[in-house]
């Protein structure tokens, strides 16, 4: 488990980091950004990635932490999973993210691995993309051409591929507040410490027994996280009852394209999506504790 030799730089500012990326790119070097290293280092050790240069974002001030900016929260890209899982602002306004982050791996990985790293890594089985997609977050990206922002709907582009281009850095994620909404992340695995076989993120607003809005994100039902649009439509305006929710959840697999692997084939995943969507929404509206 020894990676190939590589150069290492730990810049102090985003500008410096971008400069290093640009210079390496100009020199034709294969350069990688390092956040928590919990995905990058394993692939380097397995020599599935052989960057000649690694730019560590760990020393850059201001990329780590959660700040309140009115109707949204700004989560720094370098905020570790552990902080996302325990931060009081997140607990108050988007507890969905805290719940999802708490399902990631073990405490060691959660203290090292970062929110931004997990989103740029974009593992289809990763637990943070679907909640962030359901929440309609906005991604703040810095590059040679300055800053740009990308909607969650456009951010996840394919298997391990996002809108972050080579030479760019994700600096933060802006997440709207869902204060007062019900939410739940329902993750299904075979052993306690595992990436999701399928998982469902639900954000539901209920007023006087009626679901006024539902935002459902699916983990590992395609090469990218998906919104369960048909479920959202079926739920909206309907009663927050077990029967109505079960009926709506039956649409969960529509428009999905799940993989088949040792944990289950596509048919099984399609079925799981329905069961887990039902459970996630029931838990979000307080009808049944999630598993």
């Amino acid at each position: 488990m020894i990676p190939s030799a590589f150069d290492y730089a730990a810049p102090a500012t985003v500008e410096e980091a971008l400069g290093l990326l640009a210079a390496a790119d100009a020199a034709g070097d294969d350069v990688k950004v390092l956040a928590g290293g919990q995905s990058l280092l394993p692939v380097m050790k397995l020599r599935m990635a052989d960057p000649s240069m690694v730019v560590d974002l760990g020393r850059i001030a201001g990329l780590n932490g959660v700040t309140d900016s009115g109707d949204s929260l700004l989560i720094g890209a370098m905020t570790p999973h552990h902080v996302v899982a325990t931060d009081p602002l997140i607990a108050q306004h988007v507890p969905l993210l805290a719940q999802a982050a708490a399902t990631v791996a073990d405490p060691q990985v959660r203290h090292r691995g970062t929110f931004g790293g997990a989103l740029v890594h974009a593992d289809p089985a990763g637990d943070l993309p679907a909640p962030v997609l359901a929440a309609g977050a906005t991604f703040l990206i810095s590059g040679p051409g300055g800053q740009r922002s990308v909607d969650a709907a456009d951010f996840f582009q394919g298997y391990f591929t996002t809108a972050v281009e080579e030479g760019e850095i994700l600096t933060g994620i802006r997440v709207p507040k869902y204060t007062g909404w019900g939410s739940h992340y329902e993750k299904f695995t075979r052993v306690a410490q595992q990436w999701s076989i399928v998982a469902v993120a639900a954000l539901v607003r209920v007023e006087a027994g009626t679901i006024t809005e539902a935002r459902i994100g699916l983990t590992n039902m395609a090469s990218t996280p998906l919104r369960a649009a048909a479920v959202e439509a079926a739920l909206a305006g309907g009663p927050a009852t077990a029967d109505a929710i079960a009926a709506a959840a039956a649409h969960a697999a529509e428009g999905t394209d799940p993989a088949s692997d040792l944990n289950g084939d596509a048919a099984y995943r399609a079925h799981l999506a329905q069961v887990l969507t039902k459970r996630a929404v029931l838990a979000a509206v307080g009808l049944q504790a999630g598993a």
Binding site: M1, V191, L262, N263
Partner: protein
């Protein structure tokens, strides 16, 4: 038994904390990979990506000129000296096996086989150079599936004419231990025919294999993460053609084995070759990926079974027909693993007729060999699944079917249809206790409630009773099975001038806690404080004789050698005591560390005798000034632990998820030296057995690549996945050793797998599910439920 009764047992039975843990948990451990020798070089292996191919050329030029590289060795370079890795158990005279060089010379037969080794100044330099070796292969057809391999349509080795290595048969009618199975089947009122699949498993011990070889000095010294320093020393000498006296093997701290380190590995031989070629100490430590891919695997059998019975539940015969996957090569005891199971299919039952046939088959998968339980878990799984199938067929309670057939406690000693003599056992007592701890009736009521309510989470009750043969092994029996060695164990008890004791054992521990248990044994026997006993093992220059640790043999064989040696110390000390106290030897009584003259208050201690012996100023004429004693113990019989395990299993019918609501096991392991060590063995064993039932499976793709090549895909459960175990014990002493101990190293692994699978099926059988292959993953369970809705299918 007689010897123990008159002795105090302040230590035996005490839940002593493990002596060995202090250094292990404070980071002062000495694992092989911690070894650093001056000028030491590092190895990295070039491995075949193909499961079957001709090696047409190996170009090492670029690797040789890579920075830091000292040597690159290919199969061709060492073909004349590497010999063939040993198989010590030719089960039949006509057993076939391909030559197995540590480095493949012209053909590779599984993906991961070594084709060259890099020797470099640093581990990183060695790893970098791996990519610079250019190996040309001509791919050959692969045969991956065991049943397909049996047809010989594709051959796993071009050097063999068939994939069959050997066929081994036991027939009770021929052996005179029972009647004819065919007759039983022909006249069966009920016939249960099933095929079960024992999936491949990978021994996933904590410490990866690691070897350091120092070729300097008079002898080659090898430190290695092994269970078998003594056997390894002999086998290295035989394989490489060097005198045994020129090889010293040291097993320092070893982090688990489970059979995975009961092997002479290619990498151990290669490290010797590299050290020999460079004249420098060399180290090789496998990565976890290499460990999973190229270290030997376990299980991998197809079991075709026929059980005949009467309608009252009495079993009349059992026929077992096995295909056992050797993988690509025979390891040290690969061929004998199914045979270790052959004597256990009849388990605790009184079948009148039994036939066992096993075909050992080569495939192009990773080689297989011992894995915790070795043959016995497979046997127990098969019979316990069949007993549940019989109960279902006859609409009987699974416990009642078992009781109908088991050997009653008053029937011991009992000669079994497989030819063993069970000395003692009490299946009634263990089962009664388990039923009580489990609240069997209450669970059945809850099961009915959920069925009636059509609860999405159904409840199943899994029953498993078992016995196993432990204490490997009576040497004569091994001889009759054509195993290449005996089954004795050696010990030495040394009395130091201070009266402190050193115990040398040939049974080399790798996590079990021998140092603690042996100290307890000797503290009791010699009447010295536990703290004053030091246990030495795992170095062939300190422990010169031994047959190492596997098959739950350490206490029942190695421990008995320790006691026998301690008894000899007492006999010697009596001579000195008599001399010191001017009494006759016959008048000396020994108890609790002191030697008394009968009927007087005159006494002396072992410590005083030790000092007097060391000084040797005033000893009896002709007395050798030395109390140290050796003993070698060869058991007269196996020991037969048994137990009853009950599992309450929840199946979420919506997702197929399987959960363990309650797990009760009552094990009878005979007399217990340290209940905490026993508890630890039971817990770990259960975890591994449950892992086979629910989680672990080594999967190769059609081309022969291991798909489960990391812990992302090879799912080893961890603490949150396992239930709180409710453990109980009954204690029926064995008569085959003076302590009455039976062995516990494999019990949990053997009993838990069928308990869990029986529980899963009991939860969903009423929904039409007939069988589910292991591991019972949520996806398999769900698909079985879906199929049952349409066809009553099997997954």
């Amino acid at each position: 038994m007689t010897a123990t009764t008159e002795r105090s047992s302040a230590e035996v039975g005490k839940a002593r904390l493990r002596k060995e843990d202090r250094h292990l948990v404070t980071g002062r451990s000495r694992f092989t990979d911690n070894m650093v020798l001056p000028g030491m070089l590092h190895l990295a292996m070039v491995r075949s990506p193909y499961a079957h191919a001709k090696i047409t050329a190996v170009d090492t030029a670029a690797a040789k000129s890579s920075p830091g590289v000292m040597a690159v060795l290919t199969g061709a370079d060492v073909a004349g000296e590497q010999g063939s890795l040993p198989n010590a158990w030719p089960i039949t005279p006509d057993q076939k096996a391909p030559a197995h060089g540590a480095i493949a010379v012209d053909e590779v037969a599984f993906a991961g086989e070594v084709v060259a080794v890099i020797v470099a100044r640093t581990a990183a330099a060695a790893r970098d150079a791996v990519e610079r070796v250019d190996v040309s292969y001509d791919e050959l057809p692969v045969v991956m599936d065991l049943e397909e391999a049996f047809t010989d349509k594709v051959l796993a080795h071009t050097s063999l004419e068939s994939n069959k290595s050997a066929t081994w048969v036991f027939d009770s009618a021929e052996a005179g231990t029972g009647s004819s199975v065919q007759d039983a089947i022909d006249s069966a009122e009920v016939l249960i025919e099933r095929t079960f699949y024992q999936q491949r498993l990978i021994p996933a011990f904590m410490e990866p294999r690691s070897t350091v070889v120092d070729p300097t000095g008079e002898q080659i010294t090898m430190w290695t993460a092994t269970q078998i320093p003594h056997i390894l020393r002999l086998m290295l000498a035989l394989t490489l053609g060097i005198p045994e006296s020129k090889v010293r093997v040291i097993a320092p701290d070893v982090g688990g084995g489970f059979g995975g380190k009961l092997q002479v590995t290619p990498e151990e031989v290669i490290t010797v070759l590299a050290a020999r070629h460079t004249g420098k100490p060399c180290k090789y430590t496998e990565t976890r990926s290499e460990s999973l891919q190229a270290g030997h695997h376990g299980r991998a059998q197809v079991q075709r079974l026929k059980l005949s019975a009467k309608r009252d539940g009495t079993v009349t015969g059992l026929s077992v027909n096995l295909l056992a996957d050797m993988g690509a090569y025979l390891g040290l005891v690969t061929s004998g693993i199914p045979i270790l199971g052959a004597f256990m299919y009849n388990s605790i039952y009184k079948f009148p007729a039994y036939r066992f046939e096993c075909n050992n088959i080569f495939t192009n998968k990773t080689w297989t060999d011992a894995y915790r339980g070795a043959g016995r878990p497979e046997a127990t799984f098969a019979i316990e699944r069949l007993m549940d199938e019989l109960a279902t067929e006859l609409n009987m309670d699974p416990l009642a079917v078992r009781e109908k057939n088991w050997i009653r406690h008053e029937e011991f000693p009992f000669a079994t249809v497989a030819g063993l003599e069970y000395d003692t056992g009490n299946y009634e007592a263990a089962t009664a206790k388990a039923v009580d701890l489990f609240d069997y009736q209450g669970m059945r009521a809850e099961q009915k409630r959920r069925r009636d309510a059509n609860d999405p989470v159904q409840l199943g009750i899994g029953v498993s009773t078992f016995t196993e043969m432990c204490g490997l092994a009576p040497s004569r029996v091994l001889g009759s099975l054509s195993y290449g060695a005996g089954g004795w164990e050696h010990a030495q008890v040394r009395v130091l001038p201070t009266g402190n004791i050193e115990v040398v054992t040939g049974s080399s521990a790798h996590g079990q806690g021998h140092e603690t248990a042996w100290s307890q044994l000797v503290a009791d026997r010699l009447g010295v404080p536990f703290e004053n006993v030091e246990v030495l093992h795992g170095d062939t220059q300190i422990s010169q004789r031994g047959l190492d640790t596997y098959g739950s043999r350490s206490l029942t064989v190695g421990g008995m050698a320790v006691l026998a040696a301690a008894d000899k110390v007492i006999e010697k000390a009596k001579v000195v005591a008599a001399h010191m106290m001017e009494a006759s030897e016959e008048d000396i009584e020994f108890s609790a560390g002191s030697f008394n003259v009968k009927g007087t208050d005159q006494s002396t201690s072992l410590g005083e005798i030790a000092l007097a012996t060391f000084a040797a100023h005033n000893l009896p004429d002709g007395f050798e000034p030395n109390l140290d004693s050796d003993a070698t113990f060869d058991p007269s019989n196996f020991s037969y632990p048994h137990g009853t395990h009950l599992a309450a299993i929840e199946v979420d019918t919506e997702t197929g998820h399987v959960g363990i609501l309650k797990y009760v096991c009552v094990d009878d392991v005979g007399v217990v030296v340290n209940p905490m060590l026993v508890e630890g063995q039971v817990h770990g064993g259960l975890a591994q057995g449950i892992a086979q039932a629910l989680y672990e499976e080594a999967v190769h793709d059609d081309a022969g690549t291991l798909v489960t090549g990391s812990f992302v895909d090879y799912l080893v459960p961890s603490a949150p996945d396992l239930p709180h175990y409710i453990t109980g014990r009954t204690e029926t002493p064995a008569t085959s050793n003076q302590l009455g101990a039976k062995g516990v190293g494999e019990a949990g692994t053997i009993a838990s797998t069928p308990a869990i699978v029986n529980g899963v099926l009991d939860a969903v059988r009423h929904l039409g599910v007939k069988d589910i292959k292991m591991p019972c993953t949520p996806s398999r369970v769900w698909h079985a439920l879906q199929d049952a809705k349409t066809t009553g299918g099997v997954r």
